[in-house]
Amino acid sequence: MSMMALIKKEVKELLTPATILPIIAMTLLFGMLGNAIGGAVKEAREKPSIGVVNVDDGKFSDIIKEECNKMARVIYNGSSKEDIEEGLNILKNKGSALIFIPANFSEEIYKGREGKIYIYWIMRGAGIMDSIPFGAIESILTLIEREISTILVEEKGVNASALSPLNRSETTILKGIEMQGVSPGIISNMISSQSTTVPIIMMIIIIMAGGMVISSMGMEKENKTLETLLTLPIKRRSIVIGKIVGSAIVGLLMAVIYMIGFSYYIQSFQQTLPLNLADYGLSLSFLDYILIGLSVFLALTAALSLCMVLGTFAKNYKSAQTLTLPVSLLALLPMFMIMFKDFDTLPLALKIILFAIPFSHPMMAMRSLIFKDYALVIGGIAYVTVFAFAFIALAVYIFNTDKLLTGRIKRGK
């Protein structure tokens, strides 16, 4: 009953418009960004809109026109140099490029010289997404070039395979698993796309919930409510646990709101996956998901107990905000390390650092479990459990000393 009252009070104190509005604003921002990016990605999958002005009457200009009609949306066709201006005028709002093939284009190529074509790129913005259609048009031009080369080579009696003499058959061996027909790049991309979500979620939850615990302590001191709380007939460990649970509820709620926007943003980048990792035995079982859940829960408990200890140093709400910095760094560091390297491939010193940071373990768990590395996951769970209990005990100890009120732990005796 008393514990519930403490948790309820914590939630009420922490869940205010001032704390929740920035999160909602951030969520909406991510949502809007996701929407914009999603639209741009959809646009990128569509055929680019182009115009073609062809003055040449040779074979190769026909190939260009044919390929353009096949792979792009040709919304303007012209047949004289004067049509360029009209074409650009039509394309300026809805097209990406106009290709002008001058007279004698094919003839020049037959004479062994370069056939010149003119490309008018129509840029409507300088953003990354704005340049997506140009990549597609570049690909079309590369294909056209290759087709013309093939024709020229074959007409001279040489087999066209000379242009591409290698036929690669790839097999990637990763941690003892053989994957035929797959390059390391694809595997790396796929595993990363599946296993980076947990680190990002974990990082956000730790920063949000941890910040709440530290802020809660700062607010108790700033509002001069701590002394009253400490003289109530309730065990100090109950106060510590009540604060941790209350802050965790608010932190998780905020993280969920944040993640709704963030997942919408991330989804806008996701593309069709080129292979199924489960076919190679690289999938997660029900037990694996339980281990990941346990790892996340324990890391959150460890984070909150660490924040509780840090919170005892907070003098007020403002100083509490500063104290969230080391926790944020401890959450960001493993996230970036794991993004760039696997635990197994790190130098020993970095391995020790990564293992010692309790938040690393749920971040590494998914990738480790995909490769059935249970020793690292279970070892991590054991370590984080010890860490969490040690810091809860330390927080309770501090709550039982003068430290909270005087800044001193040592007794004068």
Binding site: M1, S2, A5, K8, K9, K12, E13, T16, N223, K224, T225, E227, T228, L230, T231, L232, P233, I234, K235, T401, D402, L405, T406, R408, R411, G412, K413
Partner: protein, 235 residues
């Protein structure tokens, strides 16, 4: 039984000795006042009795419970009102009193008694964030007395209150004592001390320099009031 027994109490903050071998008893059912200049050690003594600070030397017992070894038992018997206390700003006055009442059995009558003592009218259902300093103090006094504690430790109970509200709080304290609560308070207000306290202890630089009832002390020092006693003793 004594409500409070303080024996040779010493409290050090590092090298600084804030309380230097203080001894006094508070009888059950009385109002006992600690008086002294700023930095005399009054708040430190009250905080030790309220189980907030640890003892360097000596002992303190509340209704025969040791404040360090049996702190949980002591906390069931006391309520402590710090001098510059605040309340949870996002709760309403009623919610705050209900929250505190939860730890003492959560009885509805307790909250109603608190609301009556606070005397905030309809504002009791407003957020504490909107209260004036005086309103918060009244709410905190109500919080400290609503559960009829066996010992109420009040550090400057009328601090920040205007004359009318201060008078009202003094009457509430007297009424609470009649209902069985023992009060240990500190105050700078000599009139208040003379009006309220059955016995007082004058503290200076961590030591008790005089102790007795206001009448005894006035007679002993040939003074018209406690303020004069205070000035004579402090000389």
């Amino acid at each position: 039984m004594n409500a409070v027994e303080v024996n040779e109490l010493v409290k050090k903050y590092g090298e600084f000795e804030a309380v230097k071998g203080v001894s006094f008893n508070v009888n059950e059912g009385e109002i006992f006042g600690l008086i002294g200049p700023n930095g005399a050690g009054k708040t430190t003594i009250l905080r030790i009795i309220a189980t907030l600070l640890q003892i360097t030397e000596g002992s303190v017992r509340v209704f025969d419970y040791d404040v360090e070894k049996e702190a949980d038992e002591v906390r069931k018997l006391i309520s402590y009102l710090p001098e510059d206390a605040g309340a949870y700003r996002n709760l309403t006055g009623r919610e705050y009193l209900s929250f505190i009442a939860t730890f003492f059995g959560g009885k509805k009558e307790m909250v109603e008694r608190g609301i009556e003592i606070a005397n905030l009218g309809k504002r009791i259902d407003d957020k504490i964030d909107t209260y004036s300093k005086g309103m918060i103090r009244r709410l905190l006094v109500a919080r400290a007395l609503m559960n009829k504690p066996k010992l109420s430790i009040l550090d400057e109970p009328t601090s920040g209150l205007d004359v009318i509200n201060a008078q009202e709080v003094r009457k509430i304290i007297q009424r609470t004592v009649k209902e069985g609560t023992t009060v240990l308070l500190s105050s700078h207000n000599m009139l208040e001390v003379e009006f309220l306290c059955h016995r007082i202890a004058l503290i200076n630089e961590g030591r008790i320099v005089e102790e007795g009832s206001p009448e005894e002390l006035k007679e002993k020092h040939d003074a018209k009031n406690v303020e004069e006693v205070f000035l004579k003793v402090m000389k």
